[in-house]
């Protein structure tokens, strides 16, 4: 069954890459032009991206209730890199991060709840970003239909997450009811496996851990999550400035949200190809010239995708050297 799923995942990734291959080639063929970009704005882009990662580590520390920065950073970078080379990477990355953190002695339920809380807050913040583009839209900016749809999808996702969070924080009974419904549905659909029996109880336990985990530090957690997305977005604006083009930031936000949503589609590793194609075309819709959009996308993905991938390999080596050796002892 597992092998079948993997083969299916690889086939889906292959087909996905085949579909976006022409866009990917077009974007990578702009590689030599990277040398022509403004170095100061490129430096700004890398600084923004690095600080964005640092804020994610802060958010993880808050959610995991630990201050072992080295452990949090190395496991996040390692799992992030792993998720970017595996099809369906998000789930694989979360599983690896969970395993590495638990191996180092962090409490299993705290890690599960902490990682879930981090994912929930991060997704909610990205989904809420189209709200920032409302002034530009209401101010009379001509907005392409596809970008408008992106804005509406983002705001709808944000509303759904908000409603889900409200249920989560409301009471044990509400969470248990959701768990019972999910358990019933899963047992009806997947009949071959052993039926779930304790999902409501598990969800209630995770809810309590999550509330206890963030507790009165939710303000700082929200600041870290918001800051992370803000800096990642600023990295894209720096990339556009490095290219020497100017677009309305209110509309670039929509292109950024569209790219973030595309990156969550688990077809190719890390949304490779889909993000490049989606971001460059949505930047064009936001008013950036086609050639500039391709170059800015390449520069932005260099900082947000490729360099963290390399850093992840080193981080995993660091994790093995620092923590793996102690585990072996």
């Amino acid at each position: 069954m597992k092998v079948g799923k993997r083969v299916l995942g690889l086939v889906a990734a292959g087909v996905g890459l085949y579909v976006v291959w022409p866009s990917l080639v077009e974007i990578f063929s702009a590689w030599p032009r990277l040398m022509t970009l403004d170095p100061w704005w490129l430096l700004g882009m890398f600084v923004c991206e690095a600080l964005s990662f640092a804020l994610l580590w802060l958010l993880l520390e808050l959610a995991l209730h630990t201050n072992r920065t080295l452990l949090v950073a190395s496991t996040q970078l390692s799992s992030n890199a792993f998720g970017r080379v595996m099809p369906g990477g998000g789930a694989a990355a979360a599983a690896l991060q969970y395993k590495l953190l638990v191996q180092e002695g962090l409490d299993r339920s705290s890690v599960a709840a902490g990682l879930a809380a981090t994912q929930l807050i991060s997704t909610a913040v990205v989904a809420a970003m189209p709200i920032l583009s409302l002034p530009a839209i209401l101010g009379g900016a001509t907005v392409n239909h596809q970008l408008l749809v992106t804005a509406l999808v983002g705001i709808a996702t944000f509303a759904l997450i908000l409603a889900g969070t409200a249920v989560l924080f409301a009471s044990d009974r509400a969470v248990a009811a959701v768990g019972r419904a999910g358990q019933w549905l899963r047992n009806r659909i997947v009949r071959r496996r052993e039926p779930l029996r304790v999902l409501p109880e598990r969800l209630v336990a995770q809810r309590r851990t999550m509330i206890e985990t963030l507790g009165n530090r939710w303000g700082l957690a929200l600041t870290a999550a918001g800051g992370r997305s803000l800096l990642d977005f600023l990295a894209l604006l720096c990339a556009l400035s490095a290219v020497g083009t100017k677009a309305r930031p209110g509309l670039v936000i929509l292109a950024y949200v569209a790219a973030s949503l595309l990156g969550m589609i688990p077809i190719t590793p890390g949304g490779l190809g889909f993000v490049e194609a989606g971001l460059s075309s949505t930047l064009v819709l936001a008013g950036v010239g086609a050639a500039d959009a391709v170059l800015a996308t390449l520069a932005y993905r260099l900082a947000s995708y490729w360099l963290p991938l390399i850093a992840g390999a080193f981080a995993y080596g660091g994790y093995r050297a620092s923590f793996g050796a102690r585990l072996a002892q």
Partner: protein, 65 residues
């Protein structure tokens, strides 16, 4: 400088750099924006270094080996 204040400076700098196109006599708003951005980024870096190096929240879950 706190993380929140640094982010506020960064956001203000970003707005002046990329979103404002007004002309104010004798003041280059884009330069002001870039300065705010740089100060905000430096402040955030400092705030994060201080935060990561302090035990400012919660009990430690450090494993004693």
């Amino acid at each position: 400088m706190s993380i929140g204040l640094s982010l506020l400076l960064i956001a203000a700098g970003a707005i002046l750099t990329w979103a404002v196109s007004a002309d104010v006599g004798g003041v280059d708003l884009h330069i002001v924006g870039v300065i705010l951005l740089v100060v905000g980024l430096a402040g955030l870096l400092l705030a994060l270094v201080l935060t990561f190096s302090h035990e400012s929240w919660g009990p430690r879950h450090r494993r004693d080996v």
